[in-house]
Symmetry: C2
Subunit: 490 residues, 2 copies
């Protein structure tokens, strides 16, 4: 297995190599579209399954809406079409035919659609068109729907997981009787996302709201969670939007309240995507490959036998199968790798590259001593542990590693979070240190834009927990009531 | 809740009404595309989750490939393009823009793709293009990949679940070192599908192979499972294809065997789709609504309290919560419906329509007597059972209902399976009775086509368990070695 470029030498190249060598994803023959490979997809399935559980526990139901959206639907919400029209895949025909000159297949010009269809970049419009039929009375509210789907946004510059033309995601779409309920929902989901990232992905996040210029197209308020990657760049990991009555009005969705009065309903939408895979990789992984938090690792423990002959293998196998059973009884996901085509060294490198949290190695001498070797992926450390009780030791190690990854990420964020009150300091941090910068901002689009042009740093969010604090805008010197979070971002 | 048309009066209308009224699916604003509603999607999730488990237990891994396929890929396998070109959604542009006359958004003519993209109708070509990079040596084989995805086939006549422009499915794609291994895989999956339909969906199936004219475009052999619906029509519920080396040759996928010699690999592909929902509905449901096999029912037990005042509700709730806990400890999926906005009669009708296998009703007098009322959805029957031990009684009832549904379906199939040796008899059965007809066929495309034109019946399959038996073709009178299975089909 080839070694990766070191992070310190070229972070971006390290990332690309790791994604491919670690068996996570690769570029496809279609510009900007990725193939998610089995190991990557298994991690995504674990992400999906936990999030899905959390959505259902909070009363949401899954459904499925068409991939195609009639072009006219887009125009119904003005901001929405403005935000998405420039990156749409458009279906114009529904048939191919053989070229008459025998040169292959061509689009059949006679099969042109009367109205073009857009491959969904997000599903507000097609879903609100259905909601119109589903919502009549206050009894039908709240309506709490989620969809797991693929979406397409025609991106010009793409990177595996971080920005791809097609990606997988979930999109929640909810309808409520009042403004307050909708806002509570949008905030509840933000908390749910933050809980998932911190407790399962071991990725600490800052919760906040976006500035007007960074809002979702059609939203009154966009809540977000922002994470800091190892290279000092921010990554927006999830968003939750309070949509007001914009879509209800665009699609004329009204409900009768208890008195029979008709009112437009209030909406939210929210989503996380395969982009989370990028956040996971860039928070924990190292120069030796992927590092996975145990809660999301498809294989948590890999057991490698070290043997010279069949008899040794047989003895080891007997002990390992018993150990594996004990581990599985504790809920651990275990692989016993007795593949005879590969040497132990190759297997060690493979599990290191793929981020398996714990590797156990057992040879004949270990058996004699009643011991085995336990290697931790997070710290790349090894120790001998007694076979007796090894299942429990390894099980506890899962918690240790999960916590260690989270604490390391918190520590990295603390070391790379800065506060500054002057423009020179701001530029210095952004250009030379990177990381999060907490600074005062005068609240105008204009200043936000100028700071971006000057430094490539954007306002990631106005943190929800920020304190009121009188200050002067770091760029314009105008008064400001609170610091906002700046960073360069993915 | 409105009553359904009776099956005997108009089966097709009954089906359409049930799918919509039962909360399973509805038509969308996009021609031929459906919206899968929450109750329908919850059933599909149960189907998915069990199949996914069975795929993984047999060594398959999930992955994800792009939704778009470059047009040129289709042309690489001649039969394949012939089979799918006529029903393709084609993406030709990647941007919209505002019309200059302010009339709304239009396709931006300057954003025309150099090569058109096809929305996948099936993924052999894009997947084999990836497999080329994944397969180098015999060590990389077998490669056993599955994908859960949406696909699009531009159907002219559509019906919810049975035939829609977009549908959800899984598609397995495997690569093997030898012809024999690939055939074994295709047959193993056929058995897996049959096991799933019979044991989980309670839908009995006939396993067989398709005639040459009904084969998948690009396959050397297509295996299938065929089920008989209540109205005497057949439904193809799943297919598994032995693809030979066709796609390996089209995409030049070769592997080095142990001696280093390069050979093209052997392939299979196989799939089941949301069409299974149609099979489920049309096998078990009745004039009162949906009937679900317990193994796939999102809610297995609904408990409805009957009360006149808060005190009664409180007493009942106490008992029910204990009962619910006991049931859940046995693994049952239980809903306690204490919604005060709806009357018990409304709830009974709702759970009947939605196919909940067992409904429990408890009133104050039941409490006094230590009893509750248990209603079976499959037989629409009721009985009083002791509250003490009710969890176990209901749990056993799940097995009883699951078995009853399967046995009823078997009985229906037996009563509607016929054998005939003469053309008049054949026509009479097809026109007046429907069902499966076992008859001799001379093995030619020509006869198959003529029988179809004369009767609309097609050869569903050559059953795998059919016995050799000398006979004369029911249409041409030419010699035949075995009976094949005819029916009108969905």
């Amino acid at each position: 297995m080839s070694k990766l470029t070191k992070r310190a030498d070229n972070y971006s190249e390290w990332y690309n190599q790791l994604v491919e060598t670690g068996g996570l994803a690769e570029h496809s023959a279609v510009r900007g579209c990725m193939v998610i490979k089995p190991h990557g997809f298994a991690i995504w399935e674990n992400i999906q399954s936990q999030l899905d559980k959390m959505f259902k526990e909070t009363g949401h139901q899954n459904a499925y809406f068409p991939i195609f959206i009639p072009k006219s639907f887009f125009s119904k919400e003005a901001d929405h079409v403005e935000g998405f029209a420039k990156e749409c895949a458009v279906v114009t025909h529904y048939r191919l035919k053989n070229a008459e000159d025998g040169s292959g297949v061509i689009v059949d010009p006679s099969a042109k659609l009367d109205e073009e269809l857009i491959v969904r970049p997000t599903s507000e419009t097609i879903i609100w068109n259905s909601f119109k039929g589903w919502i009549k009375s206050y009894r039908d509210l709240p309506l709490l729907i989620n969809q797991w789907a693929n979406v397409v946004r025609w991106e010009m510059r793409t990177r595996l997981f971080l920005r791809t033309t097609e990606f997988l995601w979930q999109e929640g779409h909810t309808a409520h009787a009042t403004r307050e309920e909708a806002i509570i929902e949008a905030e509840k989901i933000l908390d749910l996302y933050a809980e998932f990232l911190e407790e399962y992905m071991a990725v600490p996040v800052i919760k906040g709201i976006k500035t007007a210029s960074e809002r979702f197209a059609g939203a009154l308020e966009t809540y977000c969670i922002e994470a800091l990657m190892q290279d000092g760049k921010a990554l927006q990991a999830g968003t939750s939007h309070f949509l007001g009555q914009n879509f209800a009005k665009a699609f004329d969705v009204q409900f009768a309240d208890k008195t029979g009065k008709l009112e437009h309903v209030w909406a939210t939408s929210w989503g996380v995507s395969t982009r989370l895979m990028g956040a996971l990789i860039m928070t924990h992984s190292d120069d030796a490959g992927l590092v996975l938090p145990p809660k999301l690792a498809p294989i948590q423990v890999a057991i490698v036998p070290i043997y010279r002959n069949e008899d040794q293998l047989k003895e080891i196998t007997e002990v390992v199968l018993k150990l594996k059973k004990e581990m599985e009884a504790l809920g651990l996901r275990v692989k016993f790798d007795d593949d005879d085509n590969r040497k132990p060294g190759w297997k060690f490198a493979e599990y290191e590259m793929k981020g398996v949290p714990v590797r156990i190695a057992i040879g004949p001498r270990d058996l004699e001593n009643g011991m085995c070797e336990m290697a931790r992926r997070d710290e790349l450390s090894k120790e001998l542990i007694p076979l007796d009780g090894a299942a429990n030791t390894v099980n506890e190690m899962m918690t240790t590693i999960q916590d260690n990854l989270f604490n390391r990420a918190i520590k990295n964020r603390e070391e790379n979070s800065h506060s500054t009150d002057n423009w020179e300091g701001f530029i210095d941090i952004i250009n030379n240190k990177g990381g999060f910068v907490y600074a005062h901002w005068d609240g105008t689009d204009e200043t936000e834009q100028k700071i971006k042009e000057a430094t490539k740093a954007t306002i990631r969010c106005i943190p929800l927990d920020s304190q009121e604090e009188d200050g002067l805008c770091v760029f314009s010197g105008k008064p400001s009531k609170r610091r906002v979070l700046f960073a360069k971002a993915y």
